[in-house]
Amino acid sequence: MSELIIQTDGLKKYYILGSETVRALRGVNIEINSGEFVSIMGPSGSGKSTLMNLIGCLDTPTEGQYWLNGIQVSDLSDDDLARIRNQEIGFVFQTFNLLPRATALHNVELPLIYAGVGAKERRQRAKEKLELVKLGDRMDHRPPELSGGQRQRVAVARALINNPALLLADEPTGNLDSVTGEEMMAVLVDLNNSGQTIVLVTHEKDIAAYSKRQIHLHDGIVSKDFLHDKAGVQA
């Protein structure tokens, strides 16, 4: 149970904007175990987006190390990072980020295409994941024909398709009304209950309350890191 999924050591990220250097992350150390459900919180400018990009292997740190599922990813090439994103991470974005012209099924299949999985197996696996998020009857619909909640569930099915080590959700309820938002969080809780490691980036306390642990960022460093109960109260 205590297998490390995420481990960072002195993670720093600086941006150069004109003559100024923006220190977005100033040395972040976190460890997240397999099966955890962690919220990363913080006001805008705290560096949480930057941290999410680094955890999601969309970006590389200026300094420091990052191990994902035992692989040191902080100094991998672009192509290797693409492979890690494909195999180890499932993304759920605030704006869904589905391909509008492709069917739900095809959207879910997409990571498998880049993984080089054959067409038959792709279809089979994509169908299973869509059924898991209760969209078995919407497989041939395109995103514009689906509601916000349904779209986000397609995104979750897509994120799970490669059985990733980590599900990374960036404000997944940000574009949903509160009722569908709650439904979405229920899906994530279910997934976590069945063993899926989840990292959730949010600035809403209510949403963070669904997780089991909160990491607060402030000015590029971790300010708080605690386990909490279902009401979001520190244990």
Binding site: L58, D78, D79, A82, Q87, N97, P111, A115, V117
Partner: protein
């Protein structure tokens, strides 16, 4: 699998913007079709010339009188070629040459109340063999008719009609050539249009008859024709004729000859060179429009990359490598160009057909030109597609995902 997905995406993108895709490929369509049509036109013209010249007989040498030189200066006086020259060539060439002198002029013909103005050629019987002129009705004249200066005529296939009757009816009857009665011995098979040589419209009579009865004792021949047994013997025949005529005209070796010997294929060569230059020129202009079309493709691909920045971001986040993105856009450009190429081939081949039907120009669609134009359009897709594709591949996934 990946290539299937890439092709699928390319086709979807093209289908999603049918009008835009069509307008983009229009440049390629026009370029490819223009190249194909122009080359077809050039090839058609060239084939036609070659055909005409082969009708004239490629193994026939034409000897014409040249100008008399006096101390290196052309005096403007033309030296004569005479029947004696033709006889000398016939008798001294050892039987390797088939010779016919020719005297020709346009002359008035009449039959009953019909009149016609035609080219009349005074020739020997050998003449018909040289140009593959065959008798359809009646018979040829022979050496006996030549020696007897007989008033006999062989008509081209169209002459009878110009005289208001048909060839078969005219055989054995008399027509008037410059007011003198001539018996029509035979009528030739139709030969078709052979450029400046139109035997169908002409009348052939014995040389001697032409000289003494029609052209009033004219000695000067228009030309002498010498048919060589094979094209391989052309050079030897050329030397023989030169030697024999120099002796006849008392021109010393080394001095300028007062006659010229020409080969039909020299003429072909000159014409071919001209048509080829034209073809190249036209195809070159067409090729420029292909390049302009390629720039259009590049332009629209850059727009497409910008429009689909977010899609690129999504694909990258989901594990697409730079290479996969590069190929996706490269293949889209390639598919666009190739579609344009195929449409261009259809339009080009159709256009060539329309030109030959409506404008009555000879066109021959050259398969090499079709393949080259297709290959060229694919090459243009690669060349002009690579830069937009690289831009797409280099996009940073974070920025691309955030792009609105």
């Amino acid at each position: 699998m990946l290539i299937k997905e890439i092709l699928r995406v390319a086709l979807t993108a093209i289908r999603a913007n049918v009008l835009r895709s069509f307008l983009t490929t229009l440049g390629i369509i026009i370029g490819v079709s223009a190249v194909i049509a122009m080359v077809a036109l050039g090839e058609g013209a060239q084939r036609r010339i070659e055909e005409q010249i082969s009708k004239m007989g490629t193994n026939v040498l034409t000897i014409r009188a040249g100008q008399r030189h006096w101390g290196g200066v052309a005096t403007g006086e033309t030296e004569d070629l005479t029947v004696e020259d033709a006889e000398a060539l016939r008798d001294r060439s050892g039987g390797t040459l088939s010779i016919s002198p020719e005297l020709s002029s346009r002359v008035q013909l009449a039959y009953l109340r019909w009149n016609s103005n035609n080219q009349v050629r005074g020739v020997w019987p050998e003449y018909f063999g040289m140009y593959n002129l065959n008798i359809e009705h009646g018979e040829m004249f022979d050496q006996g008719h030549v020696q007897g200066r007989r008033r006999v005529a062989i008509l081209g296939s169209a002459v009878a009609e110009e005289l208001g009757t048909t060839g078969s009816l005219l055989v054995g009857n008399k027509i008037q050539i410059r007011g003198q009665p001539f018996e029509v011995l035979g009528v030739l098979e139709e030969k078709g249009d052979a450029g400046w040589f139109r035997p169908d419209d002409e009348v052939f009579i014995p040389t001697s008859t032409a000289q003494f009865r029609v052209f009033g004792g004219r000695r000067r021949l228009s030309s002498i024709y010498a048919q060589v047994s094979s094209t391989n013997a052309m050079d030897a025949a050329f030397a023989d004729i030169d030697r024999i005529l120099r002796r006849e005209h008392k021109v010393r070796p080394g001095d300028n000859a007062d006659f010229s010997i020409r080969n039909a294929s020299d003429l072909i060569g000159a014409f071919t060179a001209t048509t080829q230059t034209f073809t190249m020129l036209l195809a070159g202009i067409a090729a420029i429009s292909l390049i302009v079309g390629g720039i259009g493709i590049m332009n629209i691909m850059l727009v497409s990359v910008t429009e689909r920045t977010r899609e690129i971001g999504i694909r990258k986040a989901l594990g697409a490598t730079k290479k996969a993105i590069l190929f996706q856009f490269l293949i889209e450009a390639l598919v666009l160009c190739f579609m344009g190429g195929i449409l261009g081939v259809i339009v080009g081949v159709g256009g060539a057909e329309v030109l030959s039907r409506i404008a009555n120009w000879d066109t021959v669609v050259v398969p090499e030109a079709v393949l080259t134009a297709l290959g060229f359009s694919a090459g243009i897709g690669l060349f002009f597609g690579i830069w937009p594709a690289q831009r797409a591949a280099k996009l940073n996934p974070i920025d691309a995902l955030r792009y609105e």
